[in-house]
């Protein structure tokens, strides 16, 4: 058998990859946003219901006693500590690692472009993401609609109305491919997410970036709850050319609420047979000190390159995908 030592990406793609990195840096340089380069190995992981850290054992004694280190799934917590300390606009282009399956859009190790804008609200940051897409991949103007409006437009159901989830569940059960799973599914957010992926996202126009805003509060992740409508959170997602490209928040700054969300995640994890994870005390302490009002977004750099190169799989834009890493 021959060993597959060759790079997965063509040389022309690697050249484009380098060019896109340079364009990203140029984009932020012009806007006076500073590049940071935080750690990959951390004492803490994340509590996210649907994310798992890969971990590793360090051989030597560490000051905090624990030998277990978590490979970061995103630089979010570290960047928020910099934000708390210095209150400056920052961005990062870094490798992150997730204990996830491999797929057309998924490699366990990939590159995230993450940035934070002090005093921006989510609307201002959405505008900036849209500008980045136009500048870097010639995208037309982004279409922005709320999560609620997307459900109404494509499914004719108001997802925030009383009894909506039961109605959506019935709608999903009627589809032969989903019937068996959905008949047994009891998790409200999973039902909403499946409806979103399979019935709504699949109908988005391919050639226009779509930004979905105001996700339900139960899917807030680390976004602030809306001041005027407690049913929704100031979280947004970008979709373009069939790819889920970016996820952003008007950032939660209240440490008490952050603790509540960590605990809620861990309760969910335990209920669904996933180990609860320690809370990142560094992040909580930084938030106690004071995270400035800010918005932040994480964008899949490899997926952006897929769009630029019209690549079918993430492996085609990685120097080496996990299969040959």
């Amino acid at each position: 058998m021959t060993t597959n030592w060759r790079p997965t990406a063509d040389w022309s793609v690697l050249v484009k990859r380098a060019e896109l990195m340079r364009q990203v840096r140029q984009f932020f340089y012009k806007r006076n946003v500073t590049e940071v380069d935080t750690h990959l190995l951390s004492q803490f992981g994340v509590t996210d219901c649907h994310l798992d850290n890969l971990t590793t054992e360090f051989k030597y004694p560490l000051p905090f006693g624990n030998k277990k280190l978590y490979l970061q799934t995103s630089p979010e917590y570290a960047m928020k500590r910099i934000l708390a300390a210095y209150k400056q606009d920052i961005y990062q282009l870094s490798h992150v690692v997730r204990d996830d399956e491999v797929g057309r859009f998924h490699n366990p190790e990939f590159t995230l472009l993450e940035w934070y804008r002090v005093s921006y609200d989510d609307t201002q940051l959405i505008t900036e993401v849209a500008e980045l897409l136009t500048e870097l991949c010639d995208a037309p103007e982004t279409r922005v609609i709320t999560y609620q409006q997307a459900f109404i437009n494509y499914l004719n159901i108001d997802p925030l109305a009383e009894g909506a989830v039961a109605e959506i569940k019935q709608n999903l059960i009627k589809r032969p491919a989903l019937s068996e799973w959905m008949s047994e599914e009891t998790d409200k957010d999973t039902i909403l997410q499946v409806a979103f992926s399979e019935l709504i996202e699949s109908q988005f126009p391919n050639d226009v970036p779509m930004c979905i805003t105001e996700f339900p509060q139960s899917q807030a992740a680390l976004a602030k709850i809306d001041k005027h409508d407690a049913r929704v959170a100031r979280r947004f997602e970008f979709y373009y050319r069939g790819v889920e490209l970016a996820n952003g928040y008007n950032e939660l700054t209240d440490p008490a609420e952050q603790r509540v969300r960590f605990k809620k995640d861990n309760r969910w994890r335990e209920k669904h047979g996933r180990e609860a994870q320690p809370e990142d005390t560094h992040l909580l302490a930084a938030m106690e000190f004071g995270l400035p009002a800010c918005s932040g977004v994480a964008l899949g750099f490899d997926r952006l390159l897929m769009i630029v190169c019209r690549a079918k799989t993430i492996a085609q834009v990685l120097p080496f995908s996990i299969d040959s890493a």
């Binding site: 996210d48 649907h50 996830d100 491919a177």
Partner: protein
Amino acid sequence: MANYSTSEFKGGLKIMQDGEPCSIVENEMVKPGKGQAFNRVKIRKLISGKVVEKTFKSGESVEGADVIELELSYLYNDGEFWHFMNDETFEQVPADAKAVGEAEKWLVEQDLCTLTLWEGKPINVQPPNFVELEITETDPGLKGDTAGTGGKPATLITGAVVRVPLFVQIGEVIKVDTRSGEYVSRVQK
């Protein structure tokens, strides 16, 4: 039979669905950034031949199907069963009409066919991609369609009917693509 988790899904994997053995045609893992991962799967039901789509929650497991594929050579038909033989072990396997299905009209003695066996019993017979068969009946075709637009029908020794060019005659052996049922060429004896 072993169970398979969705993370082991890939093209060609044999699983049970609705009491029927199936083969995975396509598997796509989908994972929303903040949501439950799932697998969009295209499945071919091996008895009915139907292709269906099904979505599995990632981490679920499904029962594997005891399905094997064997290359066997066709021996003869006894009126009820079509008999095939393993050329190495000389073991014989009878397949019924349901398993043979459409393949019947392409079976040539000693040709190697692919048999799909579920729990030891044949459920499908796949003829070779190309077979050579003698023409038993066709119009002399000397006059008429000289523009050569569509050729003419010819009945083969197995009963199959294919369109052939006008110059092909009774008694000749032709090569046919069994996937499309189309004439390929004449075979020199």
